[in-house]
C-alpha cells in the first residue's frame, strides 16, 4: 500500500468517524436504530455541493448540519407524536429524503464540484488531512462535553431506561427530538465534508450509511470495551478509521468496489454473532464433557 492510499484511507476514516459519532448518539445513547441517516448523509452532500457551487463552501457545511438536524426533528416527530415505530419512521424519512435530495441536486443523480471552491481546494494534501482530523476532534470534544451536561445526562438516561426517565420529570419526547437532531446533523455534516473532499455529490452515496457506522461502532467496541463515555467516544473514532482501512485493504486485494456494501454487512453480522457463536460452542463443549 502506498503512502498516498494510506492517507486517503485515513481521511475517509476520519469522515466515517464523524458519521459514526452521529449514529452513536441515536443507536447507542438513545437506543434507537435510526435509518434516517442513509438519507441525511446524502442530504448533507447535496446541500454542501449546491452551496459550494455558489461559492460558499463553509456555509455549505453549516447548511448541511442544519438540514440534517431538521431531518432528525422530522423523524422524531414521526416517532413521538405520530407514534410510528422507530424503524419505520427512519425508512419513511430515508425514502422521502431520496426524492428531496434529487430535487436539491437539480433532478440529476449526481453533481460535480469540479472547479468549484471547496474548503479543501486551497490547501495542500497534508493540510487537507489535518483539517479533517481537527474537525473530527472538535466535534468529538463538543459531543463529550454535551453528553456530560444536564441535558446530555438526561439524553443518555432516556436511552438507558425510558420508564425511569419519565418518572424523573424529564420529557422523553423532547429528548428524542434533541438526540435525533444532533445525530442526523452530524451524519449530514460528514456527508457534506465527503462531497467537498471527493469534489462530487451523488444521490446514492448515503446507501448503507447506517451499516458503515454500526460496523465502526462495533469494531471499536470489540477492541476497547468500557462504560466510560470518554473511552467509548474514542473507541468509535478508532473503529471508524480502522474500518476504512479494512475496506481499503479489501480494495487493494482486488475486491470489486460494488461488493463493499456486502462486505460491510457481513462484517456487522459477524461482529454481532461472534459472542453468540462462542456461547454456543461453550455450551456444546460443556455437554460433551458431561456425556463423557
Amino acid at each position: 500500500m502506498s503512502l498516498y492510499i494510506i492517507q486517503g484511507a485515513f481521511d475517509l476514516g476520519c469522515m466515517f468517524g464523524i458519521l459514526s459519532l452521529g449514529v452513536f448518539i441515536s443507536f447507542k445513547v438513545l437506543n434507537i436504530p435510526d435509518m434516517t441517516v442513509d438519507g441525511s448523509f446524502t442530504l448533507g452532500a447535496a446541500i454542501s455541493g449546491v452551496v459550494s457551487l455558489m461559492g460558499m463552501p463553509i456555509l455549505g457545511i453549516f447548511g448541511a448540519f442544519i438540514g440534517g438536524c431538521i431531518a432528525g426533528l422530522l423523524c422524531a416527530f414521526l416517532q413521538t407524536k405520530l407514534k410510528i415505530q422507530p424503524i419505520l419512521s427512519g425508512i419513511l424519512m430515508m425514502i422521502s429524503l431520496y426524492s428531496i435530495n434529487l430535487r436539491i441536486l437539480g433532478n440529476s443523480p449526481s453533481l460535480s464540484l469540479f472547479g468549484a471552491e471547496t474548503i479543501f481546494s486551497s490547501l495542500d494534501r497534508n493540510m487537507q488531512s489535518l483539517l479533517i482530523l481537527i474537525i473530527l476532534l472538535v466535534i468529538a470534544l463538543f459531543l463529550y462535553l454535551f453528553l456530560n451536561t444536564q441535558l446530555g445526562l438526561s439524553l443518555r438516561a432516556c436511552g438507558d431506561n425510558e420508564v425511569m426517565v419519565r418518572a424523573s420529570s424529564i420529557n422523553t419526547d423532547v429528548m428524542k427530538f434533541i438526540g435525533l437532531a444532533c445525530a442526523n446533523g452530524l451524519v449530514s455534516t460528514a456527508g457534506a465534508l465527503m462531497a467537498q473532499y471527493q469534489v462530487f455529490a451523488d444521490s446514492s452515496s448515503g446507501t448503507g450509511t447506517l451499516i458503515i457506522a454500526l460496523a465502526s461502532i462495533i469494531i471499536g467496541e470489540t477492541l476497547i470495551r468500557s462504560f466510560n463515555l470518554k473511552i467509548q467516544l474514542i473507541s468509535v473514532i478508532i473503529g471508524a478509521i480502522l474500518y476504512r482501512f479494512i475496506l481499503t485493504m479489501a480494495l487493494q486485494f482486488g475486491v470489486n468496489p460494488t461488493d463493499l456494501k456486502l462486505l460491510s454487512a457481513l462484517l456487522v453480522i459477524a461482529a454481532i454473532s461472534v459472542p453468540v457463536l462462542q456461547e454456543m460452542r461453550q455450551r456444546h463443549k460443556k455437554r460433551g464433557a458431561h456425556r463423557a
Binding site: 454535551f146 456530560n148 451536561t149 444536564q150 441535558l151 446530555g152 445526562l153 438526561s154 443518555r156 438516561a157 438507558d160 431506561n161 420508564v163 425511569m164 426517565v165 419519565r166 418518572a167 424523573s168 420529570s169 424529564i170 420529557n171 422523553t172 462504560f227
Partner: protein
C-alpha cells in the same frame, strides 16, 4: 393534600373485555399520611398509582394536588413533585450509567438548571455520599460503579434515594420490596421507613403482605373491584390482626382473599 374525586378508569371500554379498573373512586389524602394499600389481583391498586402519577389518563373525575387540578398534567411534569418506585428493581435506575450519574439526574428534578450546565458538579458529591450513607450498603464509596453491576436490593435502595433526594410531596411505592429476598426486603423497608419519617413525606404503598400493611404507615386502604372496600385507621387499625382483616375482607366482599398463600 391529594384529592381524587369520583375517578373512573376503564380498560377496553365498550368491548367484551371492558374492565373498570377504578370505579367512581374518591379518596382524600392528608399531609403526612402513610397509607398502605392491599387488595387482591386486579383490584386496581397499581392503576390507582398510575392514575395519580399520570402514567394513565383517567376517563372520568378529577385529581387535585394541593387544591391544584392536575387531572391532565403530563406524567413528566407531575414527576416534579411525585417520587415513584416500582416492583421491578431494574425499572428505577439507568444500568449503563454510574451511581453518581443516576443521582445527578434525580437531583436536577424540579429545579430550573441551565440544561447545558455540567451535570455532576464537584460540590454535589458530598451530598450524594450523605444520602447514600444511611443505606449502609457502602454505595457512598462506589459513586463511579456502573449501576447495572449492583444487586437488585442495592438498586432498589438507590432508587429510593433518587426518588427522595429532592424531597417529593408524594411518594408512590408499588410493591417495591416484592421482588427482593426476605432479608433485603426488610432492609429496604427499614430504609423506606427511615426516609419517609425524616422528611415527612406523604406516602402510598401497595403491598401483598398484609402483615407489612398493618405494621407500616398510619392508614390501611383495602381495595376491591376498583373501589375502596374499607379503610382502617386509628384504634381500629391498631387492634387489627392479619386474621381479623382477612375475615373482615371476606365479610365485606363475599370472597376469599386471593393472596392468602402470600401471608
Amino acid at each position: 393534600m391529594l384529592e381524587l374525586k369520583d375517578v373512573s378508569l376503564i380498560f377496553n371500554a365498550s368491548t367484551v373485555h371492558e374492565k373498570k379498573a377504578l370505579d367512581h373512586f374518591s379518596l382524600t389524602i392528608e399531609d403526612g399520611d402513610f397509607i398502605t394499600i392491599i387488595g387482591s389481583n386486579g383490584a386496581g391498586k397499581s392503576t390507582l398509582l398510575n392514575a395519580i402519577a399520570g402514567t394513565l389518563e383517567i376517563d372520568e373525575g378529577s385529581i387535585f394536588m394541593d387544591q391544584k387540578d392536575i387531572t391532565f398534567m403530563p406524567e413528566h411534569k407531575r414527576a416534579n413533585f411525585i417520587g415513584r418506585l416500582f416492583q421491578d428493581p431494574l425499572k428505577g435506575t439507568a444500568p449503563h450509567m454510574s451511581v453518581e450519574e443516576n443521582l445527578g439526574l434525580a437531583f436536577c428534578r424540579g429545579k430550573k438548571y441551565n440544561p447545558l450546565s455540567k451535570a455532576i458538579r464537584k460540590k454535589d458529591r458530598p451530598l450524594f455520599k450523605e444520602v447514600l450513607k444511611p443505606l449502609e450498603l457502602g454505595l457512598e464509596e462506589r459513586l463511579n460503579t456502573q449501576v447495572g453491576l449492583l444487586s437488585g436490593g442495592q438498586r432498589q435502595a438507590l432508587t429510593l434515594c433518587m426518588a427522595t433526594i429532592v424531597t417529593p410531596k408524594l411518594l408512590l411505592l408499588d410493591e417495591h420490596t416484592a421482588a427482593l429476598d426476605a432479608k433485603t426486603s426488610e432492609q429496604v423497608m427499614n430504609i423506606t421507613q427511615k426516609i419517609v419519617e425524616t422528611h415527612h413525606i406523604t406516602t402510598l404503598m401497595i403491598t401483598h403482605n398484609i402483615a407489612l400493611a398493618l405494621k407500616y404507615g398510619n392508614k390501611t386502604l383495602v381495595m376491591n373491584d376498583g373501589k375502596i372496600s374499607f379503610m382502617l385507621e386509628g384504634e381500629e387499625r391498631k387492634k387489627m390482626s392479619v386474621e381479623k382483616l382477612i375475615q373482615l375482607y371476606s365479610q365485606k366482599t363475599d370472597q376469599m382473599f386471593a393472596d392468602r398463600a402470600l401471608l
